[in-house]
């Protein structure tokens, strides 16, 4: 009997990816922060319990605890981050606003990813519709986002409001608006990758044994374009949050009693000089979330690239 060395335990490739990802310090910090901020906006409101829209005029214009302690201005533990000029709690608004901003970001990102990948793969794989789809991509790419969203607001706001209620209606509108105007870069990147991959030998082999196109796409193409898709997903999330903030900042997004991070910024600009914290906190939330997502994207790109992995 000859002894054979025991085989190493079967490991999925995702464990390798995770190992590589863990090497990237920025990405790990980013991931940590993203988890934290997600929990903050999802679980936070139920723990904190204050209604973000409840006004409390007697306790208006409270400063955050650190300014209060350092300079002795009016503050209270009931509103640790202070209250606005109508006495609404800043912390509760940050949590509530984060929920909306993050929800818009994720949904719009997923939507744009689905559209982008679909268009990219179809255009790259089927030569016959390539020209058509890519010219369409160019067309959409040349549309300016803000005016387009304004027109969409005007045309569909009332219909959606009647069908889904004011908040959900605007949510759908904004998400769809951002989604359908930000898939083009993903589509172009995916198409480029698909064009190279479909000439590879294994795809040729699959084709020669009669594998249908659908199987080739799901089995061979998609897993191999995963890495650029992931990266553009992280960038997409960040830009969706920023676009929503820009819309709210212009006063065109959600109704005024429906806080989002961008809206909080917009409302606080007038008193920026006297109450900087009201601008700093939502601003910080937006930029840190976007930054952390970008770092995660960076780490993912390294980890998903088999040539870099294990170095």
């Amino acid at each position: 009997m000859t002894e054979t060395a025991p085989l190493p335990p079967v490991r999925s490739q995702w464990w390798d990816v995770w190992d590589q990802f863990r090497q990237h310090r920025g990405a790990m910090i980013g991931l940590g922060f993203l988890i934290f901020i997600t929990l903050f906006v999802i679980i936070g409101p139920s723990l904190w319990g204050l209604d973000p829209n409840e006004t409390d005029i007697r306790n208006k214009n409270l400063r955050p605890f650190y300014t209060g302690i350092l300079s002795g201005e009016k503050w209270s533990w009931a509103h640790p981050l202070g209250s606005d000029n109508l006495g609404r709690d800043v912390l509760a608004n940050l949590m509530q606003g984060g929920q909306i901003s993050m929800a818009v970001g994720w949904t719009a990102m997923i939507l744009s990813l689905v559209i982008g990948t679909l268009v990219g793969v179809l255009a790259g794989f089927f030569r016959r519709i390539d020209g058509l789809l890519m010219r369409f991509t160019d067309l959409v790419l040349s549309l300016p986002l803000l005016p387009l969203l304004l027109v969409m607001m005007l045309l569909f706001r009332d219909t959606l409001r009647a069908a889904f209620g004011p908040e959900t209606g605007i949510f759908i509108l904004i998400v769809v608006g951002i989604g359908v105007t930000s898939w083009m870069h993903t589509a172009r990147i995916v198409r480029g990758d698909v064009l190279t991959i479909k000439e590879r030998e294994y795809v040729l082999a699959a084709r020669s044994i009669g594998t249908p196109a659908r199987r080739i796409i799901t089995r061979h193409l998609l897993p191999n374009v995963m890495s650029p898709i992931m990266v553009s997903a992280t960038l997409g999330l960040a830009s969706a949050i920023i676009t929503e903030s820009a819309l709210s900042f212009l006063g065109l997004g959600f109704p005024s009693d429906f806080p989002t991070w961008g809206k909080l910024l917009f409302d606080s600009v007038d008193r920026m000089a006297s109450f900087p914290e009201r601008v700093i906190w939502p601003g910080l939330c937006i930029s840190l979330t976007v930054l952390s997502v970008n770092y995660i994207g960076d780490g993912l790109r390294d980890a998903l690239d088999p040539r870099l992995r294990g170095q």
Binding site: N53, E54, T55, I57, N85, L86, R88, L154, D158, T159, R161, A162, P166, G251, L252, P255, S256, D257, D267, V269, D270, R271, A273, S274
Partner: protein, 568 residues
Amino acid sequence: MKLKTLMLGAVATMAFAPAAMADRGSDGQLNIIYWQAPSTMNPYLSGGTKDIEAASLTLEPLARYDETGVMVPYLAESVPTVENGGVTADLMQITWVLKEGLLWSDGTPVTANDVVFTHAYCTAEGGGCAQGAKFNGIESVTATDDRTVVVKFSAPMPNPYQGFVGQESPIIQAAQFADCLGEKAPTCTDANFMPIGTGPFRVTDFRVNDVIQYEANPNYRDASKPAFATVTLKGGGDAMAAGRAVMETGEFDYAWNLQLAPDVIESLAAGGKGVPISGFGTLVERIEVNLTNPSPSLPEGERSTVAHPHPYLSDAAVREALSISIDRDLLVEVGYGQAGRPTCNLVPAPAIYASDNTACLTQDLDRAKQLLEDAGYKDTNGDGVREMADGTPLTLLYQTSTNAVRQDFQALIKEWWEEIGFAVELRNIDGSVYFGGDPGSPDTFQKFYADVEMYANNFPGTDPQAYLSAYKCDQIPSPANQWNGENINRVCDPAYEALIAELGQTADLEARGAIARKMNDMLTKDSNIIIPLVDRGRVSAHSNTLGGVVLNTWDSELWNAADWFRVK
């Protein structure tokens, strides 16, 4: 040698002469900022203050009001009265005489025919003139010679100074607008954007909802005015940016209507480059109740028209509950400070026209709830929102323009209304669109695709007749008049119309006051169709280097721009 000295002397004298005389255009450039951008220069096609004031630099009426509310002649030689024979004793006719030698900015003479044409323009069939109320009761306008206009009324007109007086009804040039009558009015883009006028400045460039460039009118009647050669009127942005541009950075010379919280204005003024100025007039911030159904499920063209009464806001009890649940003192404290006072009146001044109506000043949430309860609006499913008899919940869409103070008001009022059992949805719309009067936009205050809306309005001059006459059945905005009527609430009450007619026949000041107060009460106290909130002082700001500014709450803020000068 002697000749040379003489010539040098002559040249020197010529060079120094303009400085001594303060010539037209000697003070260079004037920068004005209106945070609501003007969208037309034709006051007859827009009810928006921003458009009317931008136009007031170019277009002038026969007479306008000064800062104390007294009428001063502009294009007219003098203000006609019964005493000087300009108005007949039976109050049926007024005769205006134009100043001699008046020229339009294109050099052609101003004639009585232009005045006649102005009336024809605003009253043309199918036009939907935004200032129609100004010309109510006028039977005919005729020119007896080049400078004399006779206006005949169909009934005795105790206040004959409505048409052709004040910033809303300036004289337009017949030659320029001849082809723009009636339905064609909005299509005459050139004329509407660059009207030929008699004012101190003429338009050189008009960018819709953005910026207007003017230059001194070479044919202005006073050869030494205006002191400024060019004017840039920048529109858009927000009140905060406008205030900052004048008082903190000094980029602009004049900022209009700084509707900002009192603490914010104070902190801006600390910038030291300019000063805020304020004055109380007749400006009332109010909530207008829509008596027609704005539901989007109705077909376009029937939404917010009299064809469909509002399901529950046509009930007076509901409107009263809405009014008494508001704490107006708190609104003033939050939004205006010294520049506002709580009011229950649509006409807060002058004293003789102001009703003693103060019932709404005390907030009474319990009574508001009781009113709704008694009227049969009960919360049957326990979700905190009352329902109508058929089970439809009381949901309110509450719209206004985008402005920090207005959004604060919305937040507070929403809270009170939700407490008495409404579900309130807020919407804010960019001011340029909201007040823009574009019949194609669903978001204008005239179209009123909401249940209640908030804005401020006032009347020019000291007589509220035209203002109160707006609430007539035939002034209701609808597709038929391109949504241009002034009866925003769509109220149609024969008793009220009878009072309009009566006011139009009463000359005695005391009696006029009594009727006007009664009309005010009918719209506010008795029916709560209009829910007044705050009597607003107007706050504007000018830079320290701009002289001659007199804040006028009775007419355009730019009324005396011809006299403005640069402080050296």
